[in-house]
Symmetry: C2
Subunit: 416 residues, 2 copies
């Protein structure tokens, strides 16, 4: 089967999703006997429906090298789920009309759990219609919550950035120790799964180093037990650094968030760090600072993990090889050994991945619920290993700002 | 005059204050004919009063090299002002008793505006008492608000980190552009002076790049004009990235902060970013995220500016040379030329620096108040130039955790 390939990005972007894009494009150029043009959709599957496509042929090898080290989603991402095929057949008619108009035979979708469901829906619809298409999912998420892979591209770099940051803040905090006690709270991403918060645990070489306590969404927040531990740390060390996952929940299962923010309906999930900071201040009287990393943590390409960038590139390349071999499914990373760390790509069926969610297993969570185990550290450490600095110019990372002209549409604009 | 040297750190620490410490210690070791022992006080002048001193002779050359690349204040910092000498002569009696007990003839204090007043007080008191002491101030602050120097060690690295971060977030934000409009707010340090917020302007290569708008403490916050500009940017680009200095004030001169936080007396200055984010959401209906860099920005040694680390080292060395020459005052950086950027150290009298504050001059602020001028960019660009990576181990910066034993006290504990 020879045809064109369409690549698109979906969901929250990462520091290394463009490395996967570079892997896809670079590998596709190695397959001229199977792949004609390598197109990309603007803003994910929305761009397919809207027929806003670009041709990556315009990218030079130098562009691809810069794309590999540029954070964000260079082709644009989206948060958009296809309807069930029965509920909206017209949506699928449009989708396949666009694919057909551009001779697409391979669709590679770079996203998280929800995007893998989109892959499954498109593959199923293609098969039902007899449209010749191989769909391959390329995983990305800082949340590391995708099933079927040992780790997700995007996670290792965000983990490295956050662990580095809390180690740095720990030194700052220790310097400023005052008699009255001090605390610092860093809120990190993780709605249901605490992988990023847990990764901060790599920063602490011993019990006196930051972070002293980690609050995970997997463990119900026991305020009294937590405050007792904060007091204990401060009495021993003078200061306590806490990492809080944005999605921590009280014993009632409710997310911790600033009430007034809830009432205004203004919810960036988050505020958990601020709540925890206020509780420490109100109950223990310590001076408290907090930081909210928000998008900084998922775009900090300046401190990418070498393992992570290599894996992001590899899943892109592997997806192309699977596609041209007619192997549909979701590419992932399989861990071959811990020491030395060795890995290879694998492939999982859509149904084994789509819309599922992988949370921290109990063996990775410390018995008291406020930290991680050595088993977690062994698992996580290789994922943040190595540095892969971007090029700098005038003191700042020299990132690619991709500006490809849209291909002329071949279809009338979709009324839908 | 031959004697011992005492070094101490004060105020909010930075990513490069320890480079100044390494400069002091390294240079002092080159002056054996003038300087005997090189001591350091724990937690600034408080450590002098408490006689909690350490001997830096225990630091190997390898330790010093690691100290140079370690953020935070390795010797401990403090926020403590001496009383006026007339109000509390006993405090000065104690201070000079400690200095005398350890044979201190040189006192080098590494801090900001307030710490330079401490230098002035100690020098004045020494002169009045006939105690042979040369005091030299070593500047440090991320806020860049010290008078008498072209720039302050600590600023360039924080500026580089923040400008990099907003450039990275800008790519993330652009990828996720949705039809409804999006905004992002990054709150940075700057109580009265907007140098760090302004530095973020280096990240924008053109008007379509982040940050689109910068709110400075030097310009009263005009909410209506600001919201109009946000709307304009979003209508043109789909998304707007805003940098907010923590100390912005309304036309009434009041700091913007979350009201409920004020009422609880829980004030980490800050919350300005959250207020601005809420106003954007409430008035324009955009999806808004915000981030609060807090201590991360002043401890991010992993992304230090090479210019900044060189200057931090240089002011430490220069302070020792001034001290042994009997030249009291505050060391600073003098700009010799812009292109190529050339600088040297200088020395200002205490009275010309102490307790003063340097804010952004009008020629550095854009006419509309929402950005910076080319003159500012020319001034600022060399300060973030070059990278000076710390060593990494196991994926994380291999920072020094200094643990020097306290010297046995030579005086009875101070009752005061």
């Amino acid at each position: 089967m020879t045809g064109n390939l369409l690549y698109a990005q979906s969901g929250g972007v990462t520091a290394v999703i463009n490395a996967s894009a570079a892997g896809v494009i670079g590998e596709a150029r190695q397959q001229p006997q199977r792949i004609g043009r390598v197109l990309a959709a603007r803003n994910g599957v929305l761009g397919v429906l809207r027929e806003t496509l670009v041709d990556t042929a315009a990218l030079s090898d130098a562009d691809l090298a810069r794309l590999r080290t540029t954070p964000g989603g260079a082709f644009g991402s989206c948060r958009f789920d296809l309807d069930p095929v029965d509920a909206n057949p017209a949506q699928y008619d449009r989708l396949f009309a666009v694919l057909a108009a551009h001779g697409i035979r391979y669709f590679l979708y770079n996203g998280g759990n929800g995007s893998m469901e989109t892959c499954r829906q498109i593959q199923t619809a293609a098969d039902a219609r007899g449209y010749p298409l191989t769909v391959v999912g390329v995983p990305k998420t800082v949340d590391n919550d995708i099933v079927g892979t040992d780790c997700c591209p995007g996670f290792g770099s965000a983990a490295k950035y956050l662990a580095t940051s809390i180690r740095e803040v720990g030194l700052d905090l220790a310097a400023m120790t005052t008699d009255g006690g001090r605390a610092f709270v860093l809120e990190v991403m993780g709605r249901n799964a605490g992988w990023l918060a847990a990764a901060c645990g790599l920063a602490a070489a011993d019990a006196d180093a930051a972070p002293h306590l980690i609050l995970l969404p997997e463990t119900p927040f026991d305020e009294a037990a937590f405050l007792a531990r904060v007091r204990q740390v401060v009495e021993r060390s003078g200061a306590c650094a806490v990492v809080v996952a944005e999605g921590i929940r009280g014993p009632d299962g409710q997310i911790l968030a600033m009430h007034d923010r809830n009432q205004k309906g203004y919810i960036q999930l988050g505020g958990a760090g601020e709540v925890v900071a206020e509780r420490i201040h109100a109950c223990l009287g310590y001076k408290v600072h907090y930081a909210l990393a928000d998008y900084l943590q998922r775009s900090a390409r300046h401190l990418a993990s070498k393992t992570d960038t290599a894996q992001a590139l590899a899943v892109g390349k592997a997806a192309v090889r699977r596609a041209v071999a007619g192997q549909m499914g979701v590419v992932g990373i399989e861990r071959v050994s811990d020491q030395p760390y060795r890995w290879r790509t694998n492939l999982s069926p859509f149904a084994a991945v789509a819309n599922l969610e992988r949370r921290l297993p109990p063996e990775f969570i410390a018995a008291d619920g406020f930290g991680v185990t050595d088993a977690f550290r062994r698992w996580c450490r290789p994922l943040i290993a190595g540095e892969d600095w971007p090029a700098f110019r005038d003191g700042l990372p020299d990132y690619l700002r991709l500006q490809l002209a849209l291909l002329p549409p071949r279809l009338p604009a979709d009324a839908a």
